[in-house]
């Protein structure tokens, strides 16, 4: 007879079996048996104690995004579990593989409003890929294996395991489980040959093709395949924010960012192309603007692993269901080598116009206070355009996405779909564990930093080498911009009185510096990057600057404002 162990110990072994090496978490009553078991696994499971459970989930997200592995968070029941909700919803929106393990009261107490009892499965079901309550120690191995399989396969997403206390303390003969098939869930749809042929035909017939790349390319690890396809048929492309590191920023076919705060060229040309080829992207409203005028002239092919994305927002002509790592090469084989030089050079005037009216001013200002764009570009270049870019949410995010440059895959960690302020700092911590050999640069605002500022404690304790670039404009800048543009400058609760961030960082033993003068910026960035461990670089940013260009909400995507 096999040795009997507790359910909590079984969880440890199951996590090891899944290859987990880092866990982000916070203990409490209902998860104590599990933390007790963890004490004996410190050598294999590196548990990072965060300072708030929201930090644990965002850190797990940051870890997953840069490593491609499943991020893992572990928290107690009740408030511990509810503190993870934002991160679970965020991971669902942004297709991030993550397993969150929450403690739960024992099954005998379920439904009695027991101390720190919350219906976690009920709460998380609508915002997770799968949510399951482990009620018996016998279910641990199966549930954990199933959770990791679901989190990472198909379109990745968050899974929540609600781990009842009696299942943690009860005894079980542990056998590792290997779930790699679920009959009701098929993450590997078969390729339909006719569809592949139809796609190739549409591409071969197109004279003005344009591709839209989303995070799906990165999630599939399909950079090479997609690149080969686009180069063979010479198809220019734009990317979403989450797809920014799908391809090198300087690739000649890369025409920039799609959507509301993207680049002029790709947005205008979306409404001029004759064929739109969407790969692993979901036509978010921030990308499409007014749907009634979006790419109406074009035929549309949509490649996605998630069938529910087809025809959800934009009516398409052809759906290619499957993993783009296999569907794209299948199409690529059938497409003709092509040249679309004159179509491609049609992007240039727009790029030039945007450069002259917006970009040049944003990254090469001659005078006045520091601008976010110049700081971002300088940091990017000082790190050889090879760093991981993490952002919070707001103007800092939009400027970072616009002006950071990418060469390596898995270099973007930003909250795209949910737009979660407070995401940046903990996600950056996670990224340092997921990509320990890379520089991790976080851009955040004075608002967002304070939403997770307690995680400076985690950074201190772990010595996590996060380079925090605080773009301080004394405003909730993005909201202020909308107030300026759409609410007659009525700055309702967006100015902010700020604390002394340098002093705060120093309180946590984190090196910090503030830059006010442009002439000091280069040296300060160099010092930040050269200093081992964490660093906070506070930049005093122009208070009322705007992210441009911009498609006003609900406007046509090709009607971008270049100035306010």
């Amino acid at each position: 007879m096999a040795e009997k162990i507790t359910g909590a110990e079984a969880l440890m072994r199951a996590l090891e079996h899944e290859g987990v090496d880092v866990l982000f978490g916070y203990p409490g009553g209902s998860i104590m048996p599990t933390y007790d078991a963890l004490y004996d696994h410190k050598g294999t499971l590196n548990h990072i104690l965060v300072r708030h459970e929201q930090g644990a989930v965002h850190a797990a997200q940051g870890y997953a995004r840069v490593s491609g592995k499943v991020g893992c968070a572990i928290v107690t029941s009740g408030p511990g579990a509810t503190n993870t909700i934002t991160g679970v919803a965020d991971a669902m929106m942004d297709s991030t593989p993550m397993v969150v393990i929450c403690g739960q009261v024992g099954v005998a107490m379920l439904g009695t409003d027991a101390f720190q009892e919350v219906d976690v499965v009920g709460v998380t079901q609508p915002i997770s890929k799968w949510s399951y309550q482990i009620r018996r120690p016998e279910d641990v191995a199966w549930a954990v294996s199933r959770a990791f399989y679901i989190a990472k396969s198909g379109r990745p997403g968050p899974v929540v395991l609600d781990f009842a206390k009696n299942a943690q303390t009860g005894m079980v003969e542990y056998e590792p489980a290997h779930v790699d098939f679920i009959r009701s869930y098929n993450p590997y749809p078969a390729i339909v040959k006719e569809d592949i042929e139809a796609a190739a035909k549409m591409i071969n017939n197109s004279v003005k093709p344009f591709a839209l790349l989303g995070q799906g390319v990165e999630l599939a690890g399909a950079r090479e395949e997609v690149c080969a396809f686009l180069e063979k048929a010479q198809i220019p492309f734009g990317t979403t924010f989450l797809g920014l590191s799908d391809m090198p920023s300087d690739h000649p076919l890369n025409k920039g960012i799609l959507g509301m705060h993207g680049n002029l060229g790709p947005n205008v040309m979306t409404n001029q192309c004759d064929l739109l080829i969407a790969i692993g992207m979901r036509f978010d409203d921030r990308v499409t603007g007014n749907l009634a005028t979006y790419a109406k002239q074009a035929k549309i092919i949509h490649f996605d692993i998630d069938a529910s994305e087809f025809n959800k927002n934009v009516k398409i002509d052809l759906a290619i269901h499957g993993d783009c790592k296999t569907t794209i090469p299948a199409v690529a084989e059938l497409v003709d080598k092509a040249k679309h030089d004159s179509w491609i050079s049609g992007f240039d005037p727009y790029a030039e116009k945007e450069y002259n009216k917006v970009i040049d001013k944003a990254i090469h200002p001659a005078e006045g206070p520091l601008l976010m764009g110049e700081v971002v570009r300088k940091v990017s270049e000082a790190a050889n355009n090879e760093a991981v870019m993490v952002t919070d949410v707001g103007q800092n995010q939009l400027f970072a996405c616009r002006y950071f440059k990418f060469t390596k895959p898995r270099s973007v960690v930003t909250s795209g779909g949910l737009g979660t302020m407070g995401f940046g700092l903990p996600a950056a911590i996670g990224a340092t564990f997921g990509a320990p050999d890379r520089a991790v640069c976080l851009f955040c605002g004075d608002g967002g930093l304070q939403m997770s500022i307690q995680e400076l404690g985690t950074i201190m304790e772990q010595g996590a080498p996060v380079k925090i670039i605080l773009l301080n404009n004394n405003f909730l800048g993005n909201v202020r911009q909308w107030q300026e543009m759409f609410f007659q400058r009525r700055y309702s609760f967006t100015p902010m009185t700020n604390p002394d961030y340098e002093l705060i960082a120093k309180g946590y033993g984190i090196n910090a510096k503030t830059v006010i003068e442009r002439s000091e910026l280069d040296a300060a960035i160099a010092e930040m990057l050269a200093t081992p461990g964490p660093y906070l670089l506070q930049c005093a940013i122009k208070e009322e600057d705007n992210v441009l260009p911009m498609t006003p909400p609900g406007a046509n995507i090709d009607e971008m404002l270049l100035e306010v």
Binding site: V121, G122, Q125, P126, K129, W130, S131, Q133, I150, D180, F181, I182, R183, S184, Y185, N186, D285, N290, L291, A292, T293, K296, Q297, K299, D306, A307, S308, F310, N311, K312, N313, V314, K315, D317
Partner: protein
């Protein structure tokens, strides 16, 4: 009507409220659009019957109903029971919505990990039944001859009679059941209680989609 416009009304970001159908790329390479705003006549929405199969795992019902709620589609009726396949549960849900919306709902339900299949049908494609129970007052029945005339006319069955009340059962389609109820209810004091079950349905097709799916998946599992 020919336009380079389609699919979305542009008033909202989640369509399905109107049934402008874009017909892209017909033989002549033209785009046509059939324009039927919902305000004119409610012929854009139809009663669809969804037959949904899931694994027998706790919590599926709320996940399925949440898909409808989130897309602002009302559930008219709902029935859940074990299916003819061991371990598989069958949900019969009816809703008024557009074809576009029905397609979206199907895919969003199938996205749930433990949902095996979700399909939707119009009334012509399925055999439908539902049942009702009526508890009526025996004194009124004795006093008013119309009561027993109506019961006979609708082919309803009397299950139980005692001096206080009678229980009547009627199986059929929704409109018959509602007509029976309305006629009896028009007689003052007659109906004491009324209950109507959710619709249940089986498909008319000779193809068993679920069986085919399960067989296909089983093959995939073995060949994995």
């Amino acid at each position: 009507m020919k336009r380079t416009f389609g699919g979305q009304c542009g008033e909202c970001t989640s369509c399905g409220k109107c049934d402008r159908v874009l017909n892209r790329g017909n033989a002549a390479g033209e785009e046509t659009i059939i324009d039927n705003p919902i305000m004119e006549q409610d012929n854009s929405t139809k009663l669809y019957t969804f037959l949904i199969y899931s694994e027998n795992i706790a919590g599926l019902l709320s996940q399925i109903s949440a898909v409808f709620t989130r897309r602002q589609v009302n559930i008219e009726s709902l029935n859940v029971c074990a299916s003819s396949t061991p371990g598989v549960h069958k949900y019969t849900v009816t809703s008024y919505c557009t074809l576009e919306m029905a397609t979206m709902l199907k895919k969003q339900m199938e996205k749930k990990i433990d949902v095996l299949q979700a399909n939707f049908f119009t009334d012509e494609e399925i055999f439908i039944n539902e049942t009702c129970l009526l508890k009526i007052s025996t004194p009124i029945m004795l006093e008013n001859h119309n009561v027993s005339r109506i019961v006979r006319m609708f082919n309803a069955r009397i299950v139980e009679v005692n001096p206080t009340y009678a229980t009547i059962e009627k199986t059929g389609i929704t409109s018959d059941i509602l007509a029976l109820f309305n006629e009896l209810n028009a007689i003052e004091g007659c109906v004491l209680q009324f209950v109507r079950s959710g619709r249940i349905a089986v498909t008319k097709s000779k193809i068993e989609k679920l069986d085919n799916y399960l067989a296909e998946r089983e093959k995939q599992r073995i060949n994995k």
